[in-house]
Symmetry: C2
């Protein structure tokens, strides 16, 4: 067997980084057979040199300046696990400058500066791998980018944020409020002290743009993605969903429409309780892919966690090492096309609306007129309670988002409507 | 863009082959960008030259002698879709002899002569890809072989045969008998006129051995796999399963035990109704992968059908073409280790037993003694009916297969037992 050694320079050594170092050590024999060389961690940049870390690596390998790792002549492959836009972006570009391939798990960076990074890696013919950026340990990027090349993907529908899925699972199973479920998620380490990136859908939007870029071979950035978080979802909505045969999930949806425009959105939605995504519980992730020929595929697993994510990073490191040994390069940027992003108002979908209304004759007629005037047709309606507690629940047929939002604005203004309590999209085949 | 052309020689042009030719034609621009070259079908070997085929290809490209395709100097890549052991095996070896990489969907060939084929391809440094051999259009081989290289897989649990899953779904949902469900599957084209390969588990066993070989990096052949079909599963078993909170599925199970031996088996089993595989219905396939670090992953989709399977074949053709253009080679055989196959009698598992018994005092004690004497401990038991219809249903705790089979043999001999109506394995975490 080859005794060649390739050296990895790590940027960051948090949960994932430490798990990567442990995996590279524990599986070193397997890895040598797979990569055709030894993979050794040469240098690790960390913020706090004093911190004790549970990794099989001598303290002398740690440095505090990440650029030192990138510039180290001993480092053959750079593994970026710092996260965020900067300094991560500059460090990755500096690695390419020095002819070093990069493995990263940085969804935010890829979702905002993917084109710049791929231009730099393609210009140098260097690998840029990022399996861990979406879905943690679930193989997603490689299947989409390499296995499904014979297919045209029309739609990707995923639960890609474990924190929000955990919160919605608690609300569904235990009847917890959003606030209580969030506190529970924080207690268990599923949610950050500042939970905005997760609950407001930023994390899911970044992942959505990455999946869309690969699925539709056109660059999509995070800011292209329509985004709505889960903080306004109530236990009442979840209970009405249950009665209607639905489950509420935070979905990342990327679609290629008939005119080859891309629609990308992240928002809570009701999906049929029989849909495979409905049974994805707790912090699990799952991505549903619909292709023209292959039909429906689903990839399911743990979307986060140091160990799970580390398996994806190590898989990428092995591939990059194998390519270096073979003097070859893996697949580069596959955004071959320029495509337009379809504005959200042009989307068509079904909606659920919950209204608190005056309890008097004629109210339903007034509301129905507003919906009808905006070409929103009603699929089902029922009334709950009476007097001051009178509520109306509507589910619409497919309507245009713009028209629907106009209808909601008019409902707000209607005297008969005391409150528009909730509006949720319904993702179902009519 | 490159105007280089690589030429594919097809062996076989059935449902999958015709769909491959159509896909290569329809997606030719996409494919050129992905592969870095044009992919053209140069020659197709078919059994019946007179048969009309719905493919965008001139009749002059068809020949009746498959060796003519392999030997054609114009053919750069051989795509084997004949199936079966021979002549497919000789043709694939002949392709390697002539320095041509091969894409195949032939599970039977890989499951019986995988080592021979990989030895030949490795010796020549030629690609051998076979994504379509397991799970039709579901990306499985590449994720297991390339994405999960950073992981140690401990267990693979799958529904890999669409025909039997369709039959069991009909039996479960409609209460159909096995015979009626089989006839329905045949009417819909899901089952062959001679259904043995599917219902007796041969197809699943071949796929199980392929998955095990990749997951555990050691060669496993079809005959290593313990195999039991579904023809003895009754509606009664399915009804008892339902009452116990289980669903009956034909499972392919590959495990690496604590001593690093491989256990491989295909048989009908009860799985908890809450398990993700329980909701895999009709002709769909799904494979559950359990890794040390990544936890549980699932891959789900259409496991058969010409179009779905063709997407996997075309994905492989694109990869092989890309490698030829780059003068590189994809990953070869990954069976790095020699591992022992654990005999089925050493397996431990839970069991369900349905007995017709004499309705008199002391019967339960006699049966319980036989089980106890063989170290099979009872988890639950109930009695159904009385008099000549008296039945006993047992579910055991984990027991050793050998001991359990001995107990069943002794139950057969027991006067109190009029009939051992059913025995099924129960796959659950105790």
């Amino acid at each position: 067997m080859s005794e060649r050694v390739l050296r990895v320079g790590m940027l960051g050594c948090g949960n994932v980084g430490a798990a990567v170092i442990r995996l590279l050590h524990e599986h070193r024999d397997d890895i040598q057979r797979r990569a055709g060389c030894h993979l050794e961690v040469a240098r690790v940049a960390v913020r706090d040199l004093a911190k004790r870390r549970d990794v099989p690596l001598d303290a002398s390998r740690f440095v505090s300046d990440p650029m030192e790792v990138v510039e180290d002549l001993d480092v053959d492959i750079v593994c970026e696990l710092i996260g965020g836009n900067e300094p991560a972006g500059s460090l990755v570009l500096a690695a390419f400058d020095r002819d070093k391939p990069v493995v990263t798990a940085n969804k935010e960076l890829l979702a905002t500066r993917g084109r710049e990074l791929f231009d730099a890696s393609d210009a140098k013919g260097l690998d840029l791998y990022f399996e861990a950026a979406v879905g943690g340990g679930i193989p997603l990027i490689r299947p989409l980018k390499e296995s499904l090349t014979g297919e045209r993907v029309r739609r990707v529908l995923g639960i890609v944020n474990g924190t929000t899925n955990y919160i919605l699972t608690r609300m569904t199973d235990d009847g917890s409020s959003f606030d209580d479920a969030l506190r529970e998620a924080q207690r268990l380490g599923y949610a950050e002290a500042d939970p905005g990136a997760d609950v407001d859908g930023h994390d899911a939007a970044a992942k959505c743009s990455i999946l869309a870029s690969i699925a539709f071979n056109a660059r999509v950035v995070a800011s292209d993605v329509f985004r709505e978080g889960i903080s306004r979802v109530t236990t009442e909505d979840i209970e009405f969903a249950r009665r209607l045969g639905y489950v509420v999930k935070l979905l990342a949806i990327a679609e290629l429409d008939d005119t080859e425009r891309i629609a990308v959105r992240v928002h809570p939605a009701m999906i049929p309780a029989t849909h495979p995504l409905a049974s994805v519980r707790d912090a699990f992730n799952a991505v549903f892919v619909e292709g023209e020929k292959v039909g429906e595929l689903m990839f399911y697993g743990r979307g986060a966690g140091g160990d799970a994510t580390a398996t994806a990073v190590v898989g990428d490191l092995i591939t990059v090492a194998r390519n270096l040994v073979a003097d070859a390069r893996g697949i580069g940027c596959t955004c071959f096309y320029e495509r337009t992003i379809r504005p959200m108002v042009e989307m068509t979908g079904q909606y659920y609306i919950l209204l608190r209304v005056e309890d008097r004759p004629g109210v339903l007629a007034e509301i129905a007129r507003v919906l009808g005037d905006n070409a929103v047709s009603i699929k089902s309606v029922w009334q709950e309670g009476t007097g001051r507690d009178a509520q109306l629940v509507f589910v619409t047929h497919r309507a245009r988002e713009g028209a629907f939002q106009q209808a909601v604005a008019e409902l707000h203004a209607l005297q008969a409507v005391e409150e528009v309590r909730s509006v949720l999209r319904v993702e179902a085949e009519e």
